[in-house]
Amino acid sequence: MSASAENGAAVAPRTATSVQDAPVRLNVEQASYAYAATGRSAPDFTLGPATFQAQQRELVAILGPNASGKSTLLKLLAGIVKPLSGRIEVDGAEVGTLDLRTRAQKIALVQQESEVLFPLRVWEYVLHGRYPYGRRLRFESDEDCLLAGNALAQVGADALRDRWMDQLSGGEKQRVILARALAQQPSLLLLDEPTQHLDIGGKVELLRRLRRLADESRYTVLVVTHELNLAAEFSDRIVLLHKGKCLRVGAPAEVYDRDLLEEVFEAPLEIEVREGGRPRVILRGNL
C-alpha cells in the first residue's frame, strides 16, 4: 500500500476490516455551536449539530465552501471553544474538560504561518512541540531531541535542521510547522486550509505527506479544505458542511453526489469515477 502511495498512483482503498478495527480517535456527537456579534441578539451563525467519527490512520477532510462553518468546527475540535450542545471526545476524553497541557498532548493544530520575533533555529522551533510533556520550566531531554528529530524526518525536513527560521521559504516553513505539531505526538492532527498558498505541486506534495503520516505513522489527520479533488483523492472520509449544517459524512464515493455538490458549491459540476473508486469533480459544459 505504501509503495503505491509513493509513486503517485491512485491510492487503493483499504479493506473495510482494517479500517474498522482501528481505534476511534475522534468522536463528535451532535456537537453544535452558535455565536452572535453582540451578546444579546440572535446568533449570526449556527453550526451543527454535527456527528462523525475519525479512526486512527484516517485522513478526514472537512469539506465545504467559504463560510460553511469549517473553521468553527475546527475550533470546536481543537478545544478553543466549547460546544453549546453535544460532545467532542478525543481518545474517549471530552475535549472541553482537558487541561491545556493534556489537550496539547492529544491535539496538534497546524497553523499556516508563524511569526517568529527573534532569530530561532529550526530545531529549536520544533523542540517547542515537546513543551506539553514534562514540567513547565523544562530543559529538553535526549528523548525530546530524538522525537523532534523524528518529526523532522517524517516531514522530510531533516536537512533544514540548522537553518534559521526567518530564512526558510514558504514551503519549507510549512514543513517545519508541521514537524513541530508532530513533535507533540498527538492523537489528532488538525490542519486549517493548509493548501491555501501553495501551487498545485505543493498541494499534492503536502497531501501525500499527510497521507503517509496517517498510513505509516498512525496519525489521525483532519484537514479543513474546500478543494474537492484533493479531498476526494486523499481522504478516507469526508464531512460535508453547508451553511453550518453537516450534510453528509462518508467515503468520497458516497458523499460526492452531483446534485448535492452542485447545490453546496453553487457551480455546474460533473462527477467522474476513476479506477480505484475515487470520484473526480470537473466543471461541466460551456462557461
Partner: protein, 338 residues
C-alpha cells in the same frame, strides 16, 4: 541539535558573575580617597571575619560605608532593570519594550516625588511610595491595554506611552510647587542617583529582587513559546493569560524597586537584554539570569564612570547610561533592519 542545558546556563552565568566580580573590584579601587588594592582586600577580608579593630576606621568607612553600599545598590538596580526589560519585551512581543516606555517608571517617580513633598523625613516613605506608584501605573496600563478581554500588545504599548507622558507632565507640574532645595534634590534624583542608600535594609530589597526574578524565570519556557505566537503557544499548552500576568506584575515590581532606590535610570532594560541576545541567543531560560547579571555589570560600570570621569564632582548615573545607551541603541536598530 544542541538544546540548552542547565549546565550551559550555569557556566555562562558563572562566567558573567566572574566579570561582575572583576567590575566590583575595579569599582572598589576607584574613588577620591586614596586606598590601595591591598588595603581594600585586607579591609574586605577582615570585615568578613568581623575583625573590625584591625582596620583603620577611615578605610572601614570608605570601603563599607561608601563604596560597597553603592556598588551593592548598583547591582540591585541593574539586575532589576535588565530583567524587567527582558520580561516586557517578551510580554509585548516588541523588542523596544522597556519599563520606561510603559510608563511604570514614571509612576514610580511620581510616587517618590509625592512622598518627598508630604513626608520627607519619614524613613522608607520614598521607597514605599515609589512602589505604590509603579503598582498603580501597572494596574491602570494593564486595564487600558486590554482589548476584548485580552492583553493586546499594541494597545498596551499605546496605553503605556500615554501614561508615561501624563505622569511626566504631572511630575513637572508638581515640581514647580517644591522649594528650591527639594526641586534640586528631585531633579538630581530623577536622573539616577546611587549615592543615597535606601533606608530599608538592602537584604530585604535583594530578597524582593530574587523573588521577582525567580518568578519570571519560572515562566521562561513559556515565554520562549509565546515569542513565536500567542495562539500557537496556547495550542501547545501554555496558559498565556497567567504567564502574562505573572511577568507583568514581576517586571513592574522590579521597576518600582529600582526607581524607588535610585531614581530613573534609562536604557538598561532595553539595551542589556539585546546585547545578551546577540551574544548568547534568545532562549529565555538563559536570557533571564544572564540579563540580570549583565545589568548589574552595566550599572556598576556606569556608576564607576559617573564617579570618576569629572572627579571630584559626581555625575548622575542615568546620564552615563543615556550617553552610552543611545549610540548602542542606534547600532542595534540598524542591525535589525537588515
Amino acid at each position: 541539535m544542541r538544546p540548552l542545558t542547565p549546565k550551559r546556563v550555569f557556566w555562562i552565568c558563572s562566567a558573567l558573575l566572574g566579570v561582575l566580580f572583576v567590575m566590583v573590584v575595579i569599582s572598589l579601587r576607584m574613588g577620591a580617597y586614596p586606598i590601595s588594592v591591598r588595603d581594600i582586600v585586607m579591609t574586605l577580608f577582615n570585615g568578613a571575619l568581623g575583625r573590625r579593630d584591625r582596620i583603620p576606621s577611615d578605610f572601614w568607612l570608605v570601603v563599607f560605608g561608601l563604596r560597597l553600599p553603592r556598588i551593592a545598590l548598583g547591582i540591585l538596580v541593574g539586575a532589576a532593570l535588565a530583567t524587567s526589560g527582558a520580561g516586557f519585551q517578551a510580554l509585548l512581543r516588541n523588542p523596544l519594550a522597556d519599563p520606561y516606555v510603559l510608563g511604570v517608571a514614571s509612576g514610580a517617580a511620581l510616587g517618590a516625588m509625592l512622598s518627598l513633598m508630604f513626608a520627607p523625613q519619614v524613613p522608607g516613605a520614598i521607597q514605599a511610595a515609589a512602589f505604590v506608584g509603579a503598582a498603580a501605573t501597572t494596574g491602570v496600563v494593564y486595564f487600558l491595554g486590554r482589548r476584548g478581554g485580552q492583553l493586546d500588545s499594541a494597545t498596551l504599548l499605546l496605553a503605556g506611552i500615554i501614561s508615561a507622558s501624563f505622569l511626566s507632565a504631572a511630575i513637572m507640574f508638581l515640581g514647580t510647587t517644591l522649594s528650591g532645595r527639594d526641586q534640586r534634590g528631585m531633579a538630581f534624583w530623577i536622573m539616577g542617583d546611587l549615592s543615597s542608600p535606601p533606608s530599608l535594609n538592602l537584604h530585604w530589597l535583594f530578597l524582593v529582587l530574587i523573588v521577582a526574578v525567580g518568578s519570571i524565570y519560572t515562566t521562561s519556557s513559556d515565554l520562549n513559546l509565546i515569542l513565536t505566537g500567542e495562539q500557537e503557544a496556547r495550542h501547545l499548552g501554555v496558559n498565556v493569560s497567567r504567564v502574562k500576568l505573572v511577568v507583568y506584575i514581576a517586571a513592574s515590581l522590579l521597576t518600582g524597586l529600582a526607581v524607588s532606590v535610585a531614581g530613573a535610570i534609562g536604557y538598561v532594560g532595553l539595551i542589556v537584554p539585546h546585547v545578551i541576545r546577540m551574544i548568547f541567543g534568545t532562549d529565555y531560560r538563559l536570557l533571564i539570569p544572564a540579563s540580570a547579571i549583565g545589568g548589574a555589570i552595566a550599572i556598576v560600570f556606569a556608576d564607576t564612570l559617573a564617579r570618576t570621569v569629572v572627579a571630584p564632582t559626581e555625575l548622575p548615573v542615568g546620564a552615563m547610561t543615556a550617553l552610552a545607551g543611545a549610540p548602542v541603541f542606534i547600532y542595534l536598530m540598524r542591525r535589525n533592519v537588515r
